[in-house]
């Protein structure tokens, strides 16, 4: 196996599932287009080996941004032809907010990496707006446990976000 293929395989194993998930989301579940976009993104990464330099941190933000740009370009090209105007991607209609869109996806990507207990406690205490006491009741654990889980969940989240180059 040549060095290129090795590099590509490492890249693929580490990032293709996340890229695939994002591509499926952005294409509204079109597997063919998602696969083409992932392919194009990995090819572009191969052309820019500096992106994969360990000293630069996770290439995830670059990969997500590139994937998104690939799909935006493709979407624009298709949009010219009237017969495919219907498969508009609402989220892609504001390219000026590319960074924000990619960032929000990176947040989702980071959340997926947390343990089930950590995600659960963030769902209760943040997204559902429960108090510690309410969350304790819903989850069937003591309030002290809710507090400590929340604490370690935020620490894990902060780390996962930092790894992805997302800072508050």
């Amino acid at each position: 196996m040549g060095a290129d293929e090795q590099l590509l395989r490492v890249l693929h194993d580490e990032h293709a599932p996340a890229l695939w998930g994002y591509a499926m989301r952005l294409t509204g579940g079109d597997a063919g287009r998602a696969q083409d976009a992932v392919q194009e993104t990995l090819l572009r990464a191969w052309r820019h080996p500096d992106v994969l330099d360990d000293g630069r941190g996770s290439p995830r933000p670059w990969l997500f941004t590139t994937l998104r740009n690939v799909l935006i370009d493709e979407w624009r090209a298709r949009k010219i032809r009237p017969e495919v105007v219907t498969d508009e991607l609402p989220e892609l209609s504001t390219p000026d907010h590319a960074d924000a869109a990619v960032q929000s996806w990176l947040v989702a990507d980071a959340l997926r990496q947390l343990s089930p207990q950590h995600r659960e406690v963030l769902l209760e205490c943040y997204y559902r707006g429960c108090s510690v006491a309410q969350a304790a009741q819903r989850l069937g654990v003591p309030p002290g446990t809710v507090k400590s889980r929340t604490y370690y969940a935020l620490r894990a989240l902060r780390l996962a976000l930092e790894e992805r180059g997302v800072t508050a």
Partner: protein, 221 residues
Amino acid sequence: MTDGFAHDAAPYVLGALGPEDRRAFEEHLEGCAPCQAEVRGFAGLPGLLSRLPAGELPAALAGEAEPPGPVSVVPAVMARIRSERRSRTRRAVLVAAAAAVIAGAAGAAATEVLDRPAAAVAFTPASAEVPASAEARLTDVPGGTRIDMTCRYEGELDGRAREYVLLAVPKGGGEPARLGSWPVLTAADYGMVVVVPMPRGQIDRLQVTNATGRSLLTLRP
């Protein structure tokens, strides 16, 4: 971080402490530098959590593993890399120091191609262990020979600094001309265009050596 407040900073920034807990923690916070630091460290997270696209919440929070792609795209990407290689390589245009004198004398005409360029010829590796391959095309130009060389490193990229050197050895055992050197950092092709002040017929061979001078690849035009 003491007196039972060890973990309160987290539910506090998320707004999940009940009124009594919150009041007690805020009183404690005034005199506790470590807890203040924790609050500062967590302060940006609620804002980031709020950016999660609404539609993503269930999937992300369920920790749903991303469904695997139907097939690996590695073979497809490799095929595209190979075809891209054939049609286009990245080139760094270098004029070797040795050629500079000639180029100066001949001016802009130095790189004007006189003949149709010959086909690229592959270098012969010194042994089967050489982790690189190269090819070059030699073209007659006023005052010498233009060499378009592409070298590809195929060994492992283990982070060690490597440098390769391209030499032109004249016939009759004269001093080899050093045409250029490049760091081997990535698996990408390295391309070089140089004008060597020797007619094509006087070049005995081109050599790619490593930094210690060991010959890795040889091309006899």
